[in-house]
Amino acid sequence: MTSDIDLSCTDLNKNFGSYQAVDNVSFQIPRGSFFSILGPSGCGKTTLLRMIAGFLEPESGGITIKGDSMLGIPPNKRPVNMVFQHLALFPMMSVADNIGYGLRRRKMKASEIKKKVADALERVGLPDVGDRAISQLSGGQKQRIAIARCLVLEPDVLLLDEPLGALDLKLREHMKVELKKLQQAFGTTFIYITHDQSEAMVMSDQVAVMNNGRFEQVGTPQELYYQPDTPFVAGFVGESNHFSGQVVGRNGDVVEVKTASGQVFHSIERIDTNLAAGDEVELFVRPEMIHLSFEPENKPENALEGEVANILFDGGNSRLLIREATTGAELQVVQPQTTQFRDVKAGDRLYLSWAASQSHIFRARGQSQTPALMQTVEE
């Protein structure tokens, strides 16, 4: 089994002074997969990646690549390569020399280097740019050259630090698909870090959601989206309407929650079990899970009534901002692109409903969910 694992990290820790940038992170990445680390700015993604690349030594914990420990091995001796945030292409070398840099370090014959470079250029779809200067390339081309420069060395693992961050939106969308294709074509294990959840979702086989130096959840994009393990994941992956409230009752695994402003919701407990009356909880409902209608629904598990406060038009992603009738709270709902809803305008009265299974409920973080969980287990 271990032979199928390219990279494995166990209990990695890194402090900067008293600040814990990476906090007990463990994960394993199967060979040839596209693994993303998703997290907000400053959560420790770069720090983690630099430990894998060898630019930082962890305080404690282990890193193994294909079963060999990487601790104490300098970056130039590790079978990993890194695509830097700003690419770090060498500006005074031609494209071909950039790609050949690592091969020259391996004392490869000039003729062989030439062949490999041409081959790499071919594979990233830029066969004719070898003689150009870096400054003569477009943003997306630079991107591909930076990746080719690493992949030509056939690393076990390729690390990418937000390489699309500097590109404009259109190109970013395009490069997302391109990157995924490149990864599949080369069959190399990619570790990709980003703070853009759509990048992570589109490209990855597995995504780790990171927050404050910890991994909150590791899973497929589908798992993260449909079964978030923590409130942070529920709020960070995809969009969610968020409510805080108190448990007032339960019926089987359906929990009844009352918010401070008096709304009552039902949700199925999944991660935090044994929620009892009086427990503070957080509730998340995705805008796309909410059903809209002009007439009240027949006995929905969750129902709200409100009027359209604003239309956030964005083509197929358009949202309606609905102001709830009794409390005035605003929530976002995806605008269905059916004829019925296309002409909705501000002030229209709408009925919102969703099933208990379509919302996520968590014990509020203030009560420190994990210890609370462990207590219930012990009792």
Binding site: A53, F55, P74, P75, N76, N81, M82, F84, Q85, H86, A88, L89, F90, P91, M92, M93, Y101, G102, R105, R106, R149, C150, L153
Partner: protein, 293 residues
């Protein structure tokens, strides 16, 4: 403003003209005119009192009299050596200032490079003499420590001249180096390591090519300053320092042979330009690119 707004283009031209006038005047009266006059003087031969005729005699003298061209050659070689040593010493300093230290310390270190220029070159050079002469501080220290038996004379040799010149030139090398290295993204060096390079070839293939414009412009300035320096070589090197500027001085002042002195001046200009041009060719840099940075 109103006067200009009628025609923007001519207004701009006028502004440019006004801005450039002092510079142009300076260029013309203080640089071009004297040089033309020097060129003129160098191309004549005194026949009798107040009567001159055109001649290349003064230039011939430079090439036929071994002392002259050998002095020039020696000056050029020593200046090139000085430039090389200054580069080698200044590069780590510049690297440290640009890449290692942050914030306040950076400013302080820059200031430290500037300190030698707070005292005049004359005073500074005498300072060196106080340290290095036979009865100077270092000589006494060595004797006191028992490392030397008698007084040690450290003045009046080529090494000391070089030391003085390197010291004087440091700032002019450090400044352009720091400014180019400052612009280099740290991740370039990391990328070089990441792709399998070690410190040496990261330096050779990435850092030095990147810093080349700074290196070349620093070298040009230091070379020119050393070649044209007068005080440091004369004071630290003594009578036998054989610095080319000293030859010029001797011709003008001691021998009162202005024609010969002028010819030397012109030759110094031409030959040093030639060396710089050669240097640029060898390092494959263009002058405008280097200075434009």
């Amino acid at each position: 403003m109103n006067a200009f707004s009628s025609s923007k283009a001519s207004g701009k031209k006028l502004a440019l003209f006004l801005l450039l006038t002092p510079f142009a005047l300076h260029l013309f009266f203080l640089i071009l005119l004297p040089h033309l006059e020097i060129l003129n003087i160098s191309l004549r031969e005194r026949v009798s009192y107040g009567i001159y005729k055109f001649s290349l005699m003064n230039y011939e003298a430079f090439f036929t009299e071994p002392l002259y061209w050998r002095t020039f050659l020696r000056t050029a070689v020593m200046s090139i050596l000085t430039t090389a040593i200054t580069l080698i010493v200044a590069f780590p300093v510049a690297w440290y200032i640009a890449k290692v230290v942050r914030g306040r310390t950076k400013g302080l270190l820059f200031l430290a490079c500037l300190i030698p220029f707070w005292v005049s070159e004359l005073v500074r050079t005498y300072g060196w003499m106080i340290l290095l002469r036979e009865t100077g501080v270092i000589s006494n220290l060595l004797q006191w420590a028992g490392l030397a038996v008698g007084p040690v004379e450290m003045l009046y040799n080529d090494a000391t001249v070089m030391l003085g010149l390197v010291y004087t030139s440091m700032l002019f090398m450090v400044v352009p180096l720091v400014s180019t290295l400052d612009g280099m993204d740290d991740s370039l060096v990391e990328a070089a390591y990441d792709l399998g390079g070690n410190g040496w070839n990261a330096l050779r293939e990435v850092v030095i090519p990147y810093a080349m414009p700074g290196i070349v412009s620093g070298c040009i300035v230091v070379f020119m300053l050393s070649l044209g320096n007068y005080l440091t070589p004369i004071l630290l090197g003594g009578k036998d320092s054989l610095w080319f500027t000293d030859q010029i001085f001797t011709q003008f002042i001691t021998r009162f042979n202005w024609e010969q002195g002028a010819a030397f001046g012109v030759l110094l200009l031409i030959l040093s330009s030639l060396i710089v041009w050669l240097g640029l060719k060898l390092s494959r840099q263009s002058f405008s690119e280097t200075m434009g940075r």
